[in-house]
Amino acid sequence: MTVTTTTNRLDELLRRITGDEKHAPSAHSTLDVIWVLYDRVLQVAPDRVGDPDRDRFLLSKGHGPAAFYAVLAAKGFIPEDWLDDVAGPESRLGHHPDRLLVPGVEIGSGSLGHGLGLGVGTALGLRAQGLTTPRVYVLVGDAELDEGSNHEAIAYAGATGLDTITAVVIDNQSTTHGWPGGITSSSQIRATAELSPHVEAAWVRPWLGPFGFHGWSSATVDGRDHDAIERALKSHEPGRPHVVVAVVETKE
């Protein structure tokens, strides 16, 4: 495994947002995944934010968007000086991103459980217009999956084989009640008594309960390992939606 630290440049941009010299970049659970997406995966650029053929990145887990803003600045979507006054009265950047205020931001988010529905709709809209190249990536948190609305989208995309969408779950083990089998491992299910056999059979797979149950392909990776993240993001297959679980440090 190769653990690649993010560039000093990103660290500097993050410090500009947080004003915090001591906080390690690892405090930003989404940082490495979003960097790899923008650096190696997404077909999008500052001069393509209105291009119908661009890939779409939807940050569903809208809170704690510092890493997202830092990457957007590093990649030239927004001026760096926007980072100096996040959530100020004149700032275009808030504690949840607003698509009407920030170039390159595909959805306004914050209330949990909206990104996957919007993502499924985006994928369907692109398909209906014959735009078969772009892919839709939706970043959610493991605790965000508590919201029932996600499961409507997960079930529908799985049942209809919507293969142009990739969900990226940042798993910092922050969900209050956990998932049977954990969100990424099958160990916990052994301690969960009284599950019906077919449920255990579905969830005991070595990848995510709800996604696996509905037929998504999946890959679970170290959420700090850039090469592994890239491989996982590119390992989608025809005929089914794809999920990447990026495991990071447990939320304190």
Partner: protein, 289 residues
């Protein structure tokens, strides 16, 4: 009205590649012929209303014009946050078309009633609300809505007037002196029966939002009775604002807040809420005398 809606939406799917219909099982059978021709633009989510509205937001983000359809209580009440955030906050539009209205589904009980839907749209910005009074008003309203990208709610009912009045502004039906009685959508024929022999103006609109303030003020009345087939008083704030510079009196008649815990027919519910001709006549007479 529902059949006219399905026919018109089907025609729009054939004629305008920008349109898409999003369903949550309700009316899915009626859209089957369209779905066979346009499998990528007739999208049935199954019984998933949050997803239905979220998907509409996503479709609109790619430039399509989604037409979303279910019972009012499912497409509006249940998916309210998706309407607020996945459509409104994203800066996109959609056409939401409901059936069931306030108590068309009276035999199904309170779970299938939505008297509060229009009031919910009053908490949001920019929505046009159409409440057609006749099937003949549905097609022009839907076709016009499909031509732009703004948010539009169309509230269909099994209750209707004897003749269509497709214009969207406030229309004067008869003139009188004592007050104006504004009938919204399917309430018109009942209002006309209720006001027979009363010296009042009767006006009609199938578009309570944005309310035709100019049309109302042109009538010159300062005493206004609003008869709405949804929650009583929904338009009272709009009327107070419209008449803020003149002494005025406003009576808002509509469906009561109480969950009656009763089944029966829509006619029974109209009577219980004072929205039958006799009930309206009592309320209006008391107001003008």
């Amino acid at each position: 009205m529902r059949e006219t809606f399905v026919d018109t939406a089907t025609r729009l799917l054939d004629d305008d590649p920008r349109t898409a219909v999003v369903l949550a099982d309700i009316s899915a059978v009626a859209f089957e012929p369209a779905a066979r021709r346009h499998p990528d633009r007739v999208l049935n989510m199954g019984i998933r209303e949050q997803l239905m509205v979220g998907v509409a937001g996503g479709l609109a983000l790619t430039g399509l014009r989604p037409i979303v359809h279910s019972y009012a209580t499912f497409v509006v009440d249940r998916a309210y946050e998706q309407i607020k955030l996945d459509i409104g906050h994203q800066g996109v539009g959609a056409i939401l078309v409901s059936v069931g209205a306030s108590y068309d589904g009276s035999t199904a009980g309170r779970t299938h009633m939505s008297p509060g839907d229009v009031a919910l749209f009053d908490t949001l910005d920019g929505w046009t609300v159409h409440v057609p009074g006749h099937a003949g008003e549905v097609a022009p309203l839907l076709i016009a809505a499909a031509e732009h990208d703004e948010p539009v709610y169309i509230r269909l009912s099994t209750h209707h007037n004897s003749a269509p009045r497709p214009a969207t502004g406030l229309q004067t039906i008869k003139r009188g002196q004592r007050a104006v009685v504004v009938a919204v959508g399917p309430m018109l024929d009942t209002v006309l029966a209720a006001t027979e022999g009363l010296d009042v103006t009767v006006a009609y609109t199938n578009t309570p939002r944005p309310f035709d303030v100019r049309g109302l003020r042109a009538l010159g009345h300062h005493d206004v009775v609003m008869v709405e087939p949804y929650l009583a008083g929904t338009s009272s704030a709009v009327l107070a604002e419209a008449l803020r510079d003149v002494p005025s009196r406003v009576l808002g008649l509509g469906v009561g807040r109480a969950d009656l815990h009763r089944y029966g027919s829509p006619k029974d519910h109209a009577r219980w809420h004072g929205l039958d001709a006799a009930g309206l006549r009592r309320s209006i007479s008391e107001f003008v005398n």
